[in-house]
């Protein structure tokens, strides 16, 4: 049922779901790269994988593309059983690797033309799609330059243009912005939202908090496990930790004083501010911290703060690591 699988995609059961994975596990020898991942990614949304290097983001994406076989577990991507029906999936996905993987000795135009023929777009349709991509991703100026001479941001746009020429309903982007300046990253995300608005499902991995926060929903990965998932606002609102900001001239003294707190889970310094995550449960935590600092002779202003996505990330990875 290689062809039938694609038709199933429209079935009532998974009408709104682009990617489903159950107990997905991949081992490389003794290393468990992905450990029992559960995924349910709705269509037409941007879904993020947030995690440090080595957390299993790339391995998961590669398994979902059918490039790597899982050790165990099941996957359905656009209604297709992966890896069994991986070949049928090829025309339905666009893939961007971490590293620029178009041909650096070919011009931007030649790269696009090559990808159009590989996806066997009809010649006049190919011309039309390339023209549209050049317009949309502002490639006109660089069209005849070897791709290897383009800047990080230009390569990025070219790679996205190439991955979307055949209008795939699903895009898999593996750390697409790791070699790109902030302005180009912003532009790139504008393009992703445009694609999502047209109904494209986008799975994107990143280790940038600001990018993760732009996703409709995300999964936080830590050492192969999904330690939290959901829309970023929901994750931030429901963070089971208290967030304090402590402003002081004597950051060294304050840090030393705070280390005595049992409930302290994480402490980070930003200039003259300390950002603390504390276990929930304590009634008047602000008063307690103020008292503690005063006892040590540290003058400081303590206030509660809303959780950021970074707090969610730190909290989730702490739990995953069994506490530190």
């Amino acid at each position: 049922m290689s062809a039938g699988g694609a038709a199933d995609a429209g079935g009532a059961a998974d009408a709104g779901i682009a990617i489903e994975a159950h107990a997905l596990t991949r081992r490389f020898g003794p290393v468990v790269a992905v450990d029992g991942a559960e995924l349910s990614i709705p269509r037409g949304r941007i879904y993020g994988f947030l995690g440090p290097n080595g957390s299993g983001k790339s391995t998961t994406i590669r398994m979902l593309c059918g490039l790597i076989r899982p050790t165990s577990g099941t996957m359905r991507v656009l209604g297709l059983d992966i890896p069994r029906q991986a070949e049928a999936l090829r025309t339905l996905i666009g893939y961007m690797t971490q590293r620029f993987s178009l041909w650096e000795d070919l011009s931007a135009r030649e790269n696009l033309a090559f990808m159009a023929s590989i996806y066997t777009l009809a010649p006049d349709h190919a011309v039309q799609r390339i023209a549209a991509a050049v317009e949309e991703y502002r490639l006109a100026e660089y069209l005849d330059r070897p791709a290897g001479t383009l800047s990080g941001g230009q390569k990025q746009r070219l790679a996205l243009a190439a991955a979307t020429l055949h209008e795939p309903p699903l895009l898999m982007l593996d750390e697409p912005t790791s070699a790109v300046d902030p302005q180009s990253r912003r532009d790139f995300w504008e393009s992703l939202f445009t694609l999502a608005a047209r109904g494209t499902t986008i799975l994107v991995s990143t280790h940038y908090m600001d990018e993760a926060e732009r996703c409709h929903a995300l999964a936080i990965l830590d050492r192969g496990r999904i330690v939290a998932n959901g829309p970023p606002q929901k994750l931030m609102a429901e963070l089971p930790l208290q967030v304090l900001e402590i402003e002081t001239e004597d950051t060294v003294g304050a840090r030393a004083a705070l280390r005595g707190l049992d409930s302290l889970r994480s402490l980070a310094q930003l200039g003259l501010r300390l950002h603390a995550l504390l276990a929930p449960g304590e009634a008047d935590v602000v008063a307690r911290v103020e008292r503690l600092l005063a006892e040590q002779g540290v003058s400081a202003v303590v206030r509660r703060s809303a959780a950021s996505l970074e707090d969610v990330f730190v909290g989730a990875t702490l739990a995953g690591g069994g506490g530190r």
Binding site: L67, I68, F114, I118
Partner: protein, 367 residues
Amino acid sequence: MLPASLRRTRAIAVKELRQLSRDRLTLGMVVGIPLVQMLIFGYGINYDVRHIRAGVVDLANTQASRALVADIASSQVVDIVARPPGAEELRRMIVTGEVHAGLYIPPDFERRRIDATRPVAQVIVDGTRPGVDTAVRAITDAPLPGRAGLVRRATPAIEVLTEFNPERRTAVQVVPALIGVILSMTMVIFTAIALVRERERGNLELLITTPVRSIELMVGKILPYIGVGLVQTTLVLLVGVLLFDVPINGSLLELYLGAGLFIAATLGLGLLISTIAATQFQAMQLGFFTLLPSILLSGFAFPFEGSPRVVQYLAQVLPLTHFVEILRGVILRGATLAELWQPVAKLAAFLVVAVGLAAVRFRKRLD
């Protein structure tokens, strides 16, 4: 419109040609390697051994012995460069490599001349050097006027007729086969690297997520290099005909058909290597690993009839063996491909097996 499969194959082939046309160094090698090799080997290889450095010990020192030495010297097979005083010194000079052959004339030379049962002199040959032994033997068989009193025939018992190369020129034997050797050198490495380079640069990870099939990728990669190989064939043939007067007795079309088949088979081998090697360095090493046996066992330089059975079987697996057979057949003997169906069929079988294995081994996966 072409079927999807052919369109993808063509796209790969066009891309490959474009990349090749941008790569100046490789383009230079496409033309430069065959020309340089052809000049070096065409002029350099000569089975007709001459001017071997030799020493003479003449303990008789009679008129006849001096005449014998002069006759041998005039044959030009040996150059007499030393006259050591005795047999011991002569041996010493062969050990040190000062001379590679020596003539020893004993004191009783005159008595031996009239005794037909004993040799008149001895030639000592350095057996470590290929070809010297055979060449020096030839002078001992030569009719030397100085060897008076020796019984010899006016005409040989059996006449030898050297067909297709009556002047017994080495170039005629070597140049046609050189086409095969030169193509082996460039083709295997070119393709082996073409695929491994894409893997190293990350292009392959992108390609395997597209609908392109393994066999389309393999064939698309081979096609442009068949063209490159035919260009090299033409270059070598031109040099062979213009500089070395090699006659082309067979059909030029059949020669090119045979060359195309061999090139495809060699490229198939290159692709197979590329599915094994992880880096360009490994691909190069594996390429050279197949090259040396090809050159030494294919019958290009030495007849493999003398090799042990096992090695002869090994030679049968090497595509160059069959191509050398085809080249000599078509170019020199004027044979047709139909008459040479055996090596043609073996080459075709090699091509199918190599490309098939490469396509099977090349998985569209990363693990």
